[in-house]
Symmetry: none
Subunit: 181 residues, 2 copies
């Protein structure tokens, strides 16, 4: 409903789902904390378009994003929203978190800095070259050949989007005391 209208009243949601307004408030709070919607007095609306306020922080880890930002990852969402993360590590996690709201994802070829689509990119993990952004590190490449040549020199594994996503998620959920969630 919010997606379609751009703005909905708490009362409408309450009637629609046949629950109290209190419940709606509570549920919206979660969406708000995820940064998906914005509560205004009397309703909810989609989070502001970020075209003026240049995002200077990673949406996921909140680290400042450097200006050249070769490592950054951009998420193009519905309703003209754009999010930006410091690197593919945070980008992939946020991407998975948002799910279908993500219309497109952009990243940059590590060698040429060409902007490419993340879903078709090649991801390199476990390499010896440490960029020092996030752990586990994920580098992005526009073509397989480059990624493989890179790995030849700097070691690591070449992965597709889904594989990389799985690896990162797994690594982040691992617990210190080996008992998985």
């Amino acid at each position: 409903m919010i997606q379609e209208e751009g703005h909905v009243k708490i009362r409408d949601l309450s009637e629609k789902f046949e629950v109290s307004e209190m419940t709606i408030h509570r549920d919206l709070k979660l969406l708000m904390e995820q940064g998906l919607v914005k509560k205004i007095f009397g309703g909810v609306q989609l989070q502001e378009v970020s075209n003026k306020i240049q995002q200077k922080q990673c949406t996921y880890c909140h680290k400042p994003i450097s200006n050249e930002g070769k490592l950054t990852y951009q998420l193009i969402l519905s309703a003209n929203r754009i999010e930006r993360t410091c690197c593919a590590h945070c980008g992939i996690l946020r991407h998975k978190q948002l799910g279908e709201v993500v219309l497109q994802a952009l990243c940059h070829d590590f060698m040429t800095n060409t902007t490419i689509s993340a879903t078709t990119a090649w991801f390199v993990m476990d390499t010896s070259l440490q960029m020092g952004c996030c752990e586990p590190q994920v580098l992005t490449f526009g073509n397989k050949d480059h990624a493989e040549k890179f790995v030849k020199g700097f070691e690591g594994t070449v992965l597709r989007f889904e594989e990389a996503a799985e690896r990162v998620t797994e690594a982040m959920q691992a617990s210190c005391c080996s008992k998985q969630k």
Copy 2:
């Protein structure tokens, strides 16, 4: 209303939105503080805007935009907003994303650097000349003849705006694992 007329009376706004004039005054005060409108005795008018804030980053992929910016694409939006992308690739995607908000779109002829309208420009894709900005690359030409001569030497396909938009969107939404959404 203010946008369209350039000048509106408080009373009209009050009747239009079915609230008291006091509320209109209060709400306009906020717009005024944001510098969007100017209150005059008996009404509001649009505030003149200075587009001094030159964007130095691509609105879409956030890559820094070089100063000569031969490849850049400009979107002229309502309410005197201007957005700038690094190249036609991002420009077209952002253009489609914003939809009707875009009043005009500018780009440059690849050979002469002449500023031209994007909607009437000729777009060249799949050429052998790699500028290294974004993938899939899109070059812009002011006239069909030039585009075709370019293609004769450097290969590629000459497209109109809509065709190019479709091609780029498709490429960006493609998934790595061949199962389309």
